[in-house]
């Protein structure tokens, strides 16, 4: 099982900024990584890792906005908080429209930034949690036989054992046995739980 601790990725060309941000993250025990430009980040980024991208909007080479666009292009869903100088608000607004989480104008209040980063990290963590759960469910689903999966579908649709048995032309007893196996394999105790998982997987 991989680590689900989200990471704060700091990309800023200004050394002092990224260094101070790193220290700030460290002071609140946020795991963080520091990159001095967009390319360095791209080179090291692993799509499986999640967290929050603290991104300077103005950088030589690939700018913050360009990196944002690139990530979207690569379908990487990394939440981005832009750090802007004053006067870059219109740019930041554009970035928000493009799907950035938030932007902070430098210099920023540390608490506000940390709160927002915390939120994002939580969300990320939650999302990753869900991701993990979903993966687990998928794994469980995969452990079902074809027959069991078929029956599970019918159960989720709300069919009773009798109806299922009639539909499949098997005995009611067999359906009950399958049902018990499904409940066991899917690691649920109630029908309601099973339905919930089934719907979750269908998303």
């Amino acid at each position: 099982m991989q680590s689900i601790t989200p990471i704060v990725f700091i990309v800023d060309d200004d050394e002092a900024i990224r260094d101070s941000l790193g220290l700030l993250m460290k002071s609140v025990d946020f795991k963080h990584e520091i990159y001095h430009n967009a390319q360095a980040f791209l080179d090291n980024y692993d799509s499986k890792r999640t967290g929050c991208l603290l991104l300077d909007i103005r950088m030589p080479g690939i700018s913050g906005l360009e990196l944002h666009a690139k990530l979207k292009e690569m379908s990487l869903d990394l939440p981005i908080i832009f750090l802007t100088g004053h006067g870059d608000v219109p740019m930041a607004v554009d970035a928000m429209k493009e799907g950035a989480i938030d932007f902070f104008q430098k210099p920023f209040r540390d608490q506000e930034l940390l709160n927002r980063v915390g939120q994002v990290l939580n969300q990320a963590q939650y999302k990753q949690q869900q991701q993990v759960e979903r993966q687990q469910m998928l794994n469980r689903l995969e452990s079902l036989t074809t027959r069991e999966r078929e029956i599970m579908g019918l159960i989720i649709e709300g069919n009773g054992n009798k109806v299922i048995a009639a539909d499949l032309g098997i005995s009611q007893r067999t359906v009950e046995l399958h049902r018990a196996r499904i409940m066991q394999k899917m690691n649920v105790n109630s029908l309601a739980q099973l339905v919930k998982e089934g719907l979750f997987l269908q998303q």
Partner: protein
């Protein structure tokens, strides 16, 4: 011509001689003929008388025989005649008898060598022809006649009748005999005359020709001299009536010789006793008589009415009882004109010297002031006389003397033709006057230096104006810098924001670390240091900003190229960074130092970088967002700094007016940046120019002279 005349003379002389002698001979001839006639008449009459006597004599005896008487008469006659000789060579007596209507010649006596028979028996009958005198004689006439005889020869014949005997006697003589002495004499005279004439002519020619030709030559010379003489030569009598007027005089006065001769020189020419043109002649002012004298300057009147300056020499010549005047007249218009021109030139030069708007001083080589013009006197507040007693060292500021001396030395050794230097003069009140002195040396013919000449121009006003201009330029440059700063404000704010953000973040982090109760000095202390570094960094930006926009006096100092570029880049990068543009510097190694006003040159570079940034901002999707700042040596004495961008570049029509004031392509631009930049670079002795970048974009390059002390 000469020979013809001589020939004519000779001919006339010959004709006179011949005709004189001819006349004499003719007169003698006529006298001779008269005498001969008389003598013939007498001879004939004598014969008649003789015959008559003889016939009387014989008549006695003739009584007996009349025939015999006749015969005897004739015989006697013949005998007598034979005894009578000396009747010339051709003298002949002819005796004839009248027979009825015929003449019968009885005899004819002549010289013994005469061919006519002396005896005619019987008497010969001859026709009347050729016997005209005989016929007359027979007729009883007497006289003399010149006629032709029977031989057809012209003869002088005297005829006389012998009335009683019916005889006629003719005494005749050939004209030829009478003429011959005269012919001989005539011939002799003619020959002698001709001979004399010939020798005379020859003699005259021999002696006369050289004399004549000498005379002619002299006369021709005289004539030639007169007619070709450059001076007008006029001769007059003592009343002033012109008797000769040579060609030069014609040319001078415009009158022809024919017009002039016979007129009074004073009325015709109107000589004014005053030299031209100092007193313009007025009517009646001219002198009536020409005074003698040498080379006086007078004014003459030309035929066409204009006045001519003349130089006249009048001399008197006593010739017989007449007093003649010879005037030698010379047109001195040209001399006068050049003299006047010279005077004018001198006057002009004097005026130029005096009225020149610059001070002019002439000094001896020792430095004593010889002449000074008004302007210079006014400039220094001295009078001319005061200045002329001064030495140059007393009017030049002591601090400048050494400079003046060294320059003067250069002039003296011909190291330079002219010098130009800034010198302060000291005026009478002791105030310093900054001047521009331009000096040169005047040399004599042998190139030895004679005098110093110096032009002195008061530079006070100019310096003030220059100062004003400089201040104006500086103000303008300052305004432009402020404007540039305005454009860069966002970038600068950003650049100050960065360290501020870092500081704030560092501080927050430290607070948290400390609050957490687990202060880790190893973590906090370095952070505090970082905070101060960032504060300094922000301060640095502000310091640069202040330096850049401070309105300070221009001052130049020696600076290494690398330092200049580092300073510029650290400042310009603020802006570039904000626009996400990289400035790449390309510096040649070992670049020399330059002597510049650092702020001004920074202003130029930043201005160019800003333009480049703006230009590149206009281009969307620019991949290579970099500006190259290139510094390299160009030749031995200059460096070239180029700002090369990949921006939009310039349309050619804009490139023309790029450096004009108020030209801008920016919506909010002042349009002074490049104009100021160019004047800054020019003031530094460099040159700013634009070329288009072949890869797209613009290249602005400027040169700066390398500091000669490095």
């Amino acid at each position: 011509m000469k020979n013809k005349r001589i020939l004519l003379l000779v001919l006339i002389m010959t004709a006179i001689a011949i005709s004189a002698s001819g006349l004499a001979i003719t007169m003698l001839y006529h006298t001779a003929i008269e005498q001969q006639t008389i003598s013939l008449m007498e001879s004939a009459q004598r014969q008649v008388r003789l015959l008559k006597a003889m016939s009387l004599n014989t008549r006695f005896s003739a009584e007996s025989s009349p025939g015999k008487a006749f015969a005897d008469s004739v015989l006697h006659d013949r005998e007598a005649r034979e005894l009578f000789k000396g009747f010339g060579d051709t003298g002949v007596f002819i005796l004839a008898k009248r027979d009825e209507n015929q003449i019968s010649f009885i005899f004819s006596q002549s010289l013994p060598n005469a061919r006519i028979p002396t005896t005619l028996n019987p008497p010969l009958f001859v026709p009347l022809v050729g016997s005209l005198p005989m016929q007359q004689a027979i007729k009883g006439n007497s006289g003399v006649i010149i006629t032709l005889d029977y031989r057809g020869t012209s003869v002088l014949a005297a005829f006389e009748p012998v009335a009683d005997l019916n005889l006629g006697i003719v005494a005749k003589m050939d004209m030829a005999e009478i003429r011959s002495p005269f012919l001989r004499a005539g011939t002799l005279v003619t020959l002698t005359t001709l001979l004399l004439v010939f020798f005379g002519t020859w003699g005259i020619r021999r002696i006369g020709t050289p004399l004549v030709s000498k005379l002619e030559e002299n006369e021709q010379h005289l004539r030639a001299i007169l007619s070709t003489a450059a001076d007008g030569i006029i001769t007059t009598d003592d009343q002033g009536i012109i008797s000769s007027f040579n060609r030069a005089a014609e040319q001078i006065f415009g009158y022809s010789s024919e017009e002039a001769v016979g007129n009074n020189i004073t009325t015709l020419i109107m000589l004014i006793a005053e030299p031209y043109p100092y007193s313009q002649p007025s009517d009646g002012d001219h002198n009536k008589k020409l005074a003698t004298g040498n080379g006086r300057e007078v004014t003459g009147l030309h035929k066409d009415g204009c006045w001519i300056p003349l130089e006249i020499t009048v001399s008197e010549v006593q010739e017989k009882n007449m007093q003649l005047k010879t005037c030698i007249v010379r047109d001195i218009s040209e001399r006068k004109q050049s003299l006047i021109a010279l005077h004018q030139r001198e006057e002009e030069l004097r005026l130029i010297f005096e009225k020149a708007p610059v001070g002019i001083v002439i000094c001896t080589l020792n430095g004593d002031i010889l002449r000074a013009n008004n302007e210079f006197c006014t400039l220094l507040g001295y009078t001319q006389t005061e200045l002329l007693t001064k030495h140059y060292t007393t009017i030049i500021h002591s601090g400048d003397l050494r400079k003046v001396e060294s320059h003067s030395r250069k002039l003296l050794v011909c190291e330079s033709d002219a010098i130009s230097l800034e010198v302060s003069f000291v005026e009478k009140q002791g105030l310093n006057i900054p001047c521009r002195l331009r000096g040169s040396v005047i040399h004599d013919k042998n190139s030895n230096p004679l005098l110093y000449v110096a032009h002195i121009e008061d530079r006070s006003e100019q310096l003030k104006t220059e100062q004003l201009f400089r201040e104006h330029d500086e103000r303008l440059a300052h305004v432009t810098r402020l404007s540039t700063m305005g454009e860069m404000a966002t970038g600068i704010a950003h650049e100050i924001n960065q360290p501020l953000s870092a500081i704030s973040t560092y501080a927050a982090a430290c607070q948290r670390l400390i609050k957490q109760g687990q202060p880790v000095p190893s973590e906090v202390l370095p952070t505090l240091k970082k905070i101060s570094t960032q504060a300094l960094r922000a301060g640095d930006v502000i310091r640069r900003l202040r330096t850049f926009i401070r309105n300070k006096k221009s001052s130049r100092l020696q600076l290494r190229c690398h330092d200049l570029i580092a300073e510029v880049i650290s400042f310009a990068e603020v802006d570039a960074h904000y626009h996400q543009i990289i400035i790449n510097k390309e510096l040649e190694p070992d670049l020399p130092s330059i002597y510049i006003d650092s702020v001004q040159i920074q202003q130029v570079i930043i201005n160019l970088l800003r333009n480049a940034i703006d230009s590149m901002e206009k281009v969307t999707n620019l991949i290579n967002k970099e500006i190259r700042l290139r510094v390299k040596r160009q030749g031995d004495n200059t460096i070239e700094i180029s700002v090369i961008d990949r921006g939009a570049g310039l349309p050619p029509e804009s490139a023309e007016q790029l450096f004009s004031p108020f030209f801008t392509t920016k919506p909010l631009g002042l349009g002074m940046g490049l104009s100021i930049s160019r004047s800054i670079i020019n003031a530094h002795g460099g040159h700013l120019q634009y070329t288009s970048n072949p890869e797209g974009g613009s290249v602005f390059s400027f040169t700066l002279p390398i500091d000669p002390r490095t």
